[in-house]
Amino acid sequence: MSSLVAQLIVATLVAGTPLVYAALGELVVERAGVVNMGVEGMMVVGAVAAFAVAMATGSLGLGVLVAMAAGMLLSLLFAVLAVSFNANQVAVGLALTIFGTSLGSYLGKSYVGMALVVPPSGLGAAAADIPILGQLHPLVWLSWVLFTATWFFLYRTKYGLALRAVGESPASAHAIGYPVIRIRYLATLFGGALAGIAGAYVSLVYTALWTEGLIAGRGWIAVALVVFATWRPGRCLAGAYLFGGATMAQLFAQSAGVGLPSELMSALPYLATIVVLALISRDETMMRLNVPASLGKPFSI
């Protein structure tokens, strides 16, 4: 295998991983009938929390854990307002994104421009000889484990069936005895945890430095990816790497001296998101069959 292709594959996986986490989390949330548009905000807070902890302790693992906790805390805030009190889910999600972004810049002020110096992870050192796979960070591996587990949970366990049922018809699920509110809380918290990891991955692994606007809309792209994936995990994974690839292509294109302005190249992922959204959403029948029927609608007993 030529080293350029190998490099491209690695780069794609590296760039796609935060989207895998964030989109997978949001997918589970939406499968339970809840739209949390605060993914961007949760990622920002996850990123800054992980960065701060890693700077202070030197431990990436601890940083990731704290980021998870931070993401869950924010998603809990969302759940209280949107799930318990039936506030408009779009409005609360937007508020969460605005809040998370502001909190991120407030907390991150003192870290701006700082870089993280960390030793290579254990797995990386032991497996460095294996082509492609050996160069990947453990968090990339973990994303695959989580993907498999999530898929198995959704389609092979009764709890997963119950979660999908809640997204389909919370009133029916309640009527046959399922705790709808609790299930929606758990799904929302899961989404928060994964958004937190996604943010941590960006600040700790992907860039390893802190700047303002680090997340740069990745949370929003993740939300779009869930639609693109028509709420199916496999397509979500593929979509995440597709976007990862698009992000990386611009860097390779630049280094190869393609004469396009860098700003245009940077805009490509956003433009691609728009095009893909339009293409997917136009098939009304497919959307109707796949979208969780209660998506975004509040439920009260």
Binding site: S169, H174, A175, I176, A293, I301
Partner: protein
Amino acid sequence: MHPSLTRPNVPDRLELRSIRKAYPAVVANDDVSLRVAPGEIHAVVGENGAGKSTLMKIIYGIVQPDSGEMLWNGREVVIRSPAQAQRLGIGMVFQHFALFDTLTAAENIALALPTTPSLNALSDQISSVAASYGLPVDPARPIYTLSVGERQRVEIVRALLRKPGLLILDEPTSVLTPQAVEKLFEALRRIAADGCSILYISHKLNEIQSLCDSATVLRGGRVTGTCVPRQETPASIARMMIGEDLPRYREATQAAAGRTRLELANVSLPTRDPFGTALADVSLGIRSGEILGIAGVSGNGQAELMSVLSGEQRLVEHGAVRLDGEAIGHLGPAERRALGLRSVPEDRLDQGAVPAMSLADNVLVTVNRGRATRCGLIRFSWIEAYAKTCIETFGVRCGGPAAHAGSLSGGNLQKYIIGREILQEPGVLIVSQPTWGVDVGAAVVIRQALLDLRDRGAAILVISEELDELFDIADRIAVMAGGRLSEGVERACTSRDRVGLAMTGGHGAPSLHVKEADDAVAL
């Protein structure tokens, strides 16, 4: 195993003592007591708004009573959730089904079971229950591909697999054809014979008489009587139910039907909605001075027909819909309204009115041309006066034009919505389920208003699931099944059985006309 009806010293399966539940606006249940013996089929009778649904929700743990006691097999229980009710052995079959459309029948059933059998084992269980009670179910099919009757069977089988001691059925026949009702009753009798008690909620007196061992009658949230239905007459039960004799309609003074006002010619409409029904070659004509009734089980294309007539669904073929000969298939609802074609949708709170807006504001939803606005600005005094007129003319009980639509009872809101259209004296009126979930008093007002409008020369189309309603007010009746519409037949020339048979579809579109031979039997 199961104690039987006749054995003494066996505690009641369920006993309610002085149940009370009050909401801010209304006392839904007051001092309600009832007893159901093991294996008994017990009817809870009452008109819409009498408190039947609240009582069932209390038994099933969806709603908590303010006071009162509940005894299960002789021991006092407090049921806090449906999950707990199911653990006790209470099963429920909901009027609008608690099913998940995109999941298969087997998945729907698996979700409700406490254990998780393998799909094969579950399919075997389903078939065996299905066979023993005559309730065939295909486990592998997604719910949205099933007919309403099949969906109900899935619900019943799901409840039976938990081996309940009490099965609650809420208005189970509202979605069934008369023939399917018979099959359901057979199954229910077998279920009861095996010792499972049944609480049967209905307002259809003939069904209660043929099925139930005993009945508790509710009116305005209170028990007004208990009886053995077979020893009563429909009239005597009705008196307990509404406190007076069933009201009659004023005699029609109608002249013969006039010229055709609204016409639909060979409309076929493929559905883009996977949960919808395609219209297949539908034609109809409504003449001035007549009410055309369309019977059929919901979900057979009525919603699609309604959207084609009202203009919510515009057609490429302009001439497929004609009003007084003019092609209007391309016009939207507002434009058709301006031409005198008005409609009343099936769903009051989702389509007919905005619950969070005042009654006055809700006038503007369909009455917004001419004097309601000036230079694009709303004339608030005018819409308020209009709302007031509507409230007075149709006896709408409410807190005045400023009351939110959502604060009205179903019957009063329905009177208001139909009144809003009738006050505009439409030449053609399309009404879907005019009295669904409405109390008897309001239903009489609404049906009378439709009859009066017809007598003033309007052409009216009524889509209804209630055969009784259509036989009460329609001049001609047509049947909708599987997206097809039969031809309309004079009411006097057909019978409930004929219509019921046509509602099942299949059978190469049976004629609605009662044949000579049937005639003798029917009369």
